[in-house]
């Protein structure tokens, strides 16, 4: 573990003033590694906020090249890089912000084939993926490896977010026992909506990693930005869940 340098203490001074965070919280972020899958509208902003906050290492998983239709929300992508790999643009932008950040750029989407390896690389996962099979693959591995999973989702002007702590909260398969048949990869959304829930997702990751505050543990926060309605809803553990099983303890984080 490398201790915070004087330069890092200067960069993160304002957030180290936050009660309950301090130098110990900053050190915890520096020592932490986070998987962000994918780095689209949600994941771009999650990664950017975590890079700004001084996370030590990011694993960025996203296949494919930048398309014009990415640019309304994928804030790590730029017009002059259309047609080039998303992970390359993201790495470049994040390094401009935080040159100390270690990045493992993986030009693949998470799947059953790579989920064990990618989740095994990190301390926490932020799920920003559009398709349920890749979300289920991450969820299974997070449960198996006991890693926290911050789950962010959006549609139109709405978003939903919850934090999954294996063994303590419902997992993604408790919520969705099947691949929802009506869901499609492409859907209506504003960048300001993905950015809003992404900032909350980054904050959940910071809280879980540093011990600050109370994560959305077993709670689904829903928001409709059309009328600024925010609601906290309590989620059920599914006792017969085939992924997380029957043994749960009360949330203690």
């Amino acid at each position: 573990m490398a201790l915070l340098t004087d330069h890092e203490k200067a960069v993160y001074e304002w957030q180290m003033w936050v009660p309950g965070f301090g130098e110990a919280g900053q050190q915890a972020l520096k020592d932490a590694s986070v998987l962000v899958s994918r780095i689209g509208g949600l994941g771009s902003v999650v990664a950017y906020e975590l890079a700004a906050a001084g996370i030590g290492r990011l694993v960025l998983a996203h296949a494919g090249d930048i398309k014009p239709s990415d640019l309304n929300r994928q804030l790590l992508m730029t017009h002059d890089r259309i047609g080039t790999p998303r992970v390359d643009s993201a790495t470049s932008r994040l390094k401009e912000l935080n040159p100390r950040l270690e990045i493992l750029a993986v030009p693949e989407n998470v799947s059953d084939k790579n989920a064990a390896r990618l989740v095994g690389e990190v301390d926490l996962v932020v799920d920003c993926a559009p398709l349920f099979p890749e979300r289920f693959a991450m969820n299974r591995q997070c449960v198996e490896q006991g890693k926290p999973l911050v789950d962010c989702a959006m549609y139109d002007c709405e978003f939903q977010i919850t934090t999954i702590l294996p063994g303590q909260t419902p997992c993604l398969a408790c919520l969705y026992p099947e691949d929802p048949p009506a869901w499609r990869r492409e859907f209506p959304v504003f960048g300001a909506v993905s950015g809003s829930v992404a900032c909350l997702g980054a904050m959940e990751a910071i809280k879980v990693l540093s011990g600050l505050g109370e994560p959305l543990c077993g709670t689904l926060l829903t928001c409709d930005l059309r009328d600024m309605t925010f609601q906290r809803r309590q989620l059920l553990i599914r006792d017969d869940c085939p992924v997380c099983g029957t043994s749960h303890e009360a949330c203690s984080t």
Partner: protein
């Protein structure tokens, strides 16, 4: 009796409204509420909410007030004045 049914995400778009207030003869199970609103809003809405056997799809989250409940909890009865929320699943991107 009257029950308020609220919608979120895809199912709200399919309904074209954020909520309905429906009239029912008396306390009933959640699946009956689902079938009642499916009749109001037609096929595209019903396809999201119900399977081919007219049973609620388990991937649609259902809440009584702020608490999640399970569609298959046969001990639950919806009573006069309650608010039910249906959340269709969404993702990142």
């Amino acid at each position: 009796m009257q029950v308020t049914v609220e919608y979120a995400a895809q199912i709200k778009r399919a309904a074209g409204v954020a909520r309905d207030v429906i009239e029912l003869d008396g306390p009933c199970q959640l699946a009956e509420i689902a079938r009642a609103v499916a009749i109001i809003h037609g096929d595209s809405f019903a396809e999201i909410l119900l399977d081919e056997n007219r049973q609620p799809r388990p991937s649609i989250l259902v809440f009584m007030g702020e608490e999640q409940v399970r569609w298959d909890d046969t001990n639950l009865e919806v009573e006069d004045g309650q608010t039910i929320t249906l959340l269709s699943p969404v993702s990142g991107g």
